[in-house]
Amino acid sequence: MKNNSLSKLSKILLITSGIGLIISIFVPIWAIYLEAPQYPEGLGMFLHAHKITGDYEIINGLNHYIGMKEIHQEDFWEFKILPYALGFFAALAFLTVFINNKKWLYFFAALFLIFGVAFMVDFYLWEYDYGHNLNPNAAIVVPGMSYQPPLLGFKQLLNFGAYSYPDIGGWIMFGVGIILVVLSYLEIKSSKKVI
C-alpha cells in the first residue's frame, strides 16, 4: 500500500505556515511608499488584511491635483474577505497535518497558489483603476499620463517616486507559497522512491 502520510519536515513547516498565516491577519501585508522633494520624510501607506493605515489621507489630499479617486477603506470588499481567507488557509494547514495526507497538501498548495495569483491580479486591477480613472476636471492633466503605482518595485510618477513592496504579512504569504511548493515537490519525490 502506498504511504500517503506526511514527513516530519512537512508537518513542522505546515504548522509554521499556519501560524504565519494567522500572524499575517494582524500585520501589514503590503506597503506603498511615496517620495517627493516636498516629502523628504516620505509618505507610507500600509494595506492590512482588513484596513489601510499610514498617510493615505495626506496622499488623498495630494491626489486631488491629478484627479485620482480618494482611497477609502470602506470602498474595498477585499477587506471583508481577506482576514477570513487567511484564517481559512491557516486552518487548512493545521487540518492537513491532522489528516496527515499528502493529497491534502497538494490540494492546499494548489489552492493557495491560485489565491496568491488572484491576490496579485486583484491588486493590479485596483492600481490600474486608481491610476487610470482620473477626473477629467482635475487641476493637472498631463496628456497620456497615468498614475498607476508599480505592482512591485519602483516607478516615477511626476514629482513622486513610488515604491511598492510586500510588508511582513506579504512576505509571510510569499514564504508560505514557497514552502508549499517545495514541500509538495519533496513529498512527490519521496512517494516515487517508495514505489
Binding site: D55, E57, I58, G61, H64, Y65, A139, I140
Partner: protein, 666 residues
C-alpha cells in the same frame, strides 16, 4: 545715559587693561578655523537652540547655533501681523491688561524651565519691562500660552528668573512706586515715604506650567535690576541686585551713582512661604490680567484678578537681607554650585563675589552694618568671598561654564573676560564689537552648563555690517569657549535689541515638536470639521462664516448678501492634517492683519466692511502649486439692501453638487 558719560574714560580703560589705545581688529580676533566651526551644511541641524530676547520689539527670536541662523520670531508681548497674533479674535485676549489692550512691550530677559537646576526644555519664560508682565511660551509649539500681569509693580526688570525646579518665576520692580492700595497721586519727591520696590513670586504648576501670583514681598523703594535663584546648597534663596539705594527720583545718572555700594538683596523665599502659610501677608485689592491660551479651543481668555497677598520685608525681619555690592550692580549671578554670588557693578572697577556659606554665617552671627529702611544690611567683608581685581570696566553680567570658570561682559571696555571662580584670577579677555550688554553660555545659569559656546549681545555695531541708514542692526557674537582661550567665531545680526538670552542643546527640544493639531481634538466653538459643514450664519448685524481651507480652496469661496454695517467673523479652519501646510487668510480693505492658520486649527478674523463693493479674499501662505487659485469674493451691499445672504463653493467640479446655499439667520 550714565553709560555714554563713561565712553570718555573707556580710552583710559583700554590703556590700563589692554595696553593699547586701539582695540584689536577682527583680523586678529578671528582664528583660521572659525568658518569650519560655524558651518552647518545644508540639510544639517544646528547643535543648539538660542532663545534671544527681542528687547523693544517685544518678541523672542530663536536662532540656531553655531550657525547664527534665525529660525523663528515668537510673538509674546507685541502684536505680530505676520501670523495674526494679537489680531485674531483668539489671540487678542493675550495682550489684555488692567490698562486694556496693549500691542507692545519691551522684552528683556528669558529663562528656560528647569528641573533639579537643569534645563528640561518644556517652557521658556519672558518678562515685559514696561507694563509689568511675565509670559510662558510652550516649547512644543513655540507659542505664547500664558501672560500674567504684575500689580504693585513698574518696570519689571529683574525677571523672569526661576528657582531650580521652576517652583517660582520672579519679577522685581525696577521703578519703585506706591503700591496699588495706596494713593499714587502723591508728589514725586515724596519718594522716600511713599515708594516701594515690590518683588513678585509667581508659582508654576509642575505639570501644566500654569502660573499664578503666589505672593509679593514689599521691599524698600530701590530699583531692582537683575536676579538669580540660589541653587543646590543655596536653593530656597533668591538674589536681587538693586541700584539707586540713594532713592533719587531725578537725574538718576548722577544722583543714583553717589553711594559707593548698592545692594544685592538676598530673599529667603522658603521663609516667606512659611509666613504666607501663617497668614502674615496683607491682602491688597488691585487688578491684574491673567491671560491663558487653551490649546484645545485654540482660544485665549483674559481674566481680571482682584487681589494679591503682600508680605512686608520690614515687618518680617528674616526674609530679606542686603549685601553691600559696589556699585550700581546689574548682573546678579549664582555659580553652578550655588556657593558664589557674583555682582556686576556697572560703575565698579572690580567684580565682587559673595559666598553663600559666609552669608548664612553672617546672618546667624548678626554681623550687621546697620539697617536700610528696616532691612538688615550685612557687613560687606562678612559675605564677601573675594574680588576680581582689575577685570575691565563696566562689568554687566556673568555666566559659567561648569568647569570652574566665569565669563563677565564689560560694556565700557567692550570685552568678555574669563576668570577663575576659586582663585579670582583673570584667565583671558577678548574684545567684543561693540559694547556688550548681556552674554550667555549655553546652559550658563544652570547647575550643569553645557558650555562650549558663549554669545555676546552687543549694543553697538557701527562698522560690523552693511549700513542701513541711521538705524543699524544690533548683533550677537559667538565665541568658542571649549579651549583655554576664547575664540571669536561669528557675528550675526539680531532683531530688536537683545538683552538676556538662553540656549539649550537641540536634542532637548526638537523631537517634542507638535507638527499639526489633530482636527478631531479641535474644540473651537466655531470649528468647521469638513467642507460639508461650511456655512454662513447671520445673527443680527453679526455674520459668522464657518469656512474651511484645504489645498487649494476655501469653502465657501463666494459670499453674497453682506451689508455695510455688518460685523463679519471669518472662522477659518485649516483642514490639512500634515506638517508644514499652514493656510493664510486676508481680505481687501480689512483694518486688521491676516490669519495664519496651522493644520487642524481654527482662527477668526473680524472684518467690518465700510462700503459696498466686491471684496476679494485669498490665501497668503504659498500652500501648493495652485495656491494662487485659492481665492474668493465677498459681495457687500449697502445697508438695508435686500440681497439674500448666500454662499457657495463655485469651483467647476463641485458646481453641480454644490449649489448656492442660503445662510442661516438666527
Amino acid at each position: 545715559m550714565k553709560i555714554i558719560q563713561l565712553f570718555g574714560i573707556s580710552a583710559f580703560a583700554s590703556l590700563a587693561f589692554l595696553g593699547s589705545c586701539k582695540p584689536k581688529g577682527t583680523e586678529t580676533a578671528v582664528s583660521g578655523d572659525a568658518a569650519e566651526k560655524v558651518y552647518v551644511a545644508p540639510g544639517k541641524y544646528d547643535e543648539v537652540y538660542n532663545f534671544v530676547s527681542g528687547g523693544f520689539n517685544g518678541q523672542m527670536n530663536v536662532y540656531g547655533l553655531p550657525s547664527g541662523r534665525l529660525l523663528k520670531v515668537v510673538p509674546i508681548f507685541s502684536v505680530n501681523p505676520e501670523n495674526g497674533y494679537g489680531y485674531s479674535e483668539e489671540t487678542k485676549p493675550m495682550l489684555e491688561t488692567s490698562h486694556g489692550f496693549i500691542p507692545w512691550d519691551d522684552q528683556h530677559h528669558l529663562e528656560l524651565s528647569q528641573t533639579n537646576g537643569e534645563q528640561d526644555g518644556r517652557w521658556i519664560f519672558a518678562n515685559a519691562n514696561n507694563t509689568p508682565r511675565v509670559a510662558r511660551v510652550n516649547l512644543k509649539t513655540f507659542r505664547t500660552e500664558e501672560i500674567i500681569e504684575l500689580p504693585n509693580s513698574a518696570g519689571n526688570h529683574s525677571s523672569p528668573f526661576i528657582t531650580e525646579n521652576t517652583e517660582y518665576v520672579v519679577a522685581g520692580t525696577r521703578f519703585a512706586v506706591p503700591t496699588d492700595d495706596m494713593n499714587g497721586d502723591v508728589p514725586i519727591n515724596s519718594f522716600k515715604e511713599n515708594f516701594k520696590g515690590v518683588i513678585s513670586f509667581i508659582g508654576v504648576n509642575k505639570e501644566t506650567g500654569d502660573m499664578n501670583l503666589s505672593f509679593q514681598i514689599e521691599a524698600p523703594g530701590v530699583n531692582f535690576d537683575l536676579s538669580h535663584a540660589g541653587k543646590g546648597k543655596s536653593h530656597g534663596w533668591f538674589f536681587f541686585s538693586c541700584y539707586n539705594s540713594e532713592q533719587a527720583n531725578t537725574l538718576l545718572e548722577v544722583n543714583a551713582s553717589q553711594n559707593d555700594k548698592d545692594f544685592i538683596m538676598a530673599v529667603n523665599w522658603k521663609k516667606a512661604e512659611e509666613y504666607l502659610k501663617a497668614g502674615k501677608g496683607r491682602k491688597v485689592k488691585t487688578q491684574y490680567a491673567h491671560n491663558k491660551f487653551d490649546e484645545s479651543t485654540q482660544t485665549a481668555t483674559s481674566k481680571m484678578e482682584q487681589e494679591v497677598t503682600v508680605l512686608s520685608a520690614k515687618e518680617l525681619k528674616d526674609i530679606c537681607y542686603f549685601m553691600p555690592t559696589p556699585k550700581s550692580p546689574h548682573g546678579c549671578d549664582v555659580d553652578p554650585t550655588g556657593e558664589y554670588i557674583v555682582g556686576s557693578g556697572k560703575l565698579a572697577a572690580l567684580i565682587p563675589v559673595h559666598s553663600f556659606t559666609k552669608m548664612l554665617k553672617a546672618i546667624e552671627n548678626k554681623e550687621f552694618a546697620g539697617e536700610y529702611d528696616g532691612i538688615p544690611i550685612l557687613k560687606y567683608e562678612s559675605t564677601l568671598y573675594g574680588e576680581v581685581q582689575k577685570p575691565g570696566l563696566g562689568p554687566l553680567h556673568t555666566e559659567f561654564d561648569g568647569k570652574g570658570n566665569a565669563y563677565t561682559s564689560f560694556f565700557v571696555s567692550s570685552e568678555v573676560v574669563k576668570w577663575d571662580i576659586k582663585t579670582l584670577k583673570v584667565l583671558d579677555r577678548q574684545p567684543t564689537f561693540y559694547s556688550v550688554g548681556h552674554l550667555m553660555v549655553v546652559g550658563g545659569d544652570t547647575k550643569k552648563p553645557y558650555g562650549k559656546y558663549l554669545v555676546a549681545y552687543n549694543k553697538i555695531t557701527k562698522d560690523r555690517f552693511l549700513p542701513t541708514g541711521p538705524e543699524l542692526t544690533q548683533s550677537a557674537q559667538l565665541y568658542d569657549i571649549s579651549g583655554d582661550k576664547m575664540k571669536l567665531l561669528l557675528d550675526f545680526p539680531t532683531f530688536g535689541e537683545p538683552h538676556y538670552a538662553q540656549a539649550v542643546p537641540a536634542s532637548l527640544i526638537k523631537d517634542n515638536q507638535v507638527k499639526f493639531y489633530n482636527i478631531a481634538d479641535n474644540k473651537h466653538p466655531y470649528a468647521t470639521k469638513g467642507e460639508a459643514e461650511s456655512k454662513v450664519v447671520r445673527q443680527g448685524n453679526k455674520v459668522h462664516v464657518y469656512m474651511t481651507s484645504i489645498r487649494s480652496h476655501f469653502a465657501p469661496d463666494n459670499i453674497e448678501g453682506i451689508k455695510v454695517g455688518d460685523e463679519v467673523y471669518f472662522h477659518v479652519t485649516n483642514l490639512e492634517q500634515d506638517w508644514d501646510v499652514p493656510h493664510g487668510f486676508a481680505i481687501k480693505g480689512n483694518q486688521n492683519a491676516e490669519l495664519l492658520i496651522m493644520p487642524g486649527e481654527t482662527c477668526t478674523l473680524k472684518w467690518v466692511p465700510k462700503k459696498p463693493g466686491m471684496w476679494p479674499m485669498y490665501c497668503t501662505d504659498f500652500c501648493s502649486a495652485l495656491h494662487q487659485e485659492m481665492q474668493g469674493y465677498v459681495r457687500v451691499s449697502p445697508a438695508g439692501s435686500n440681497v439674500p445672504l448666500t454662499y457657495s463653493l463655485n469651483n467647476k467640479a463641485d458646481n453641480a453638487k454644490s449649489p448656492v446655499k442660503t445662510a442661516v439667520t438666527k
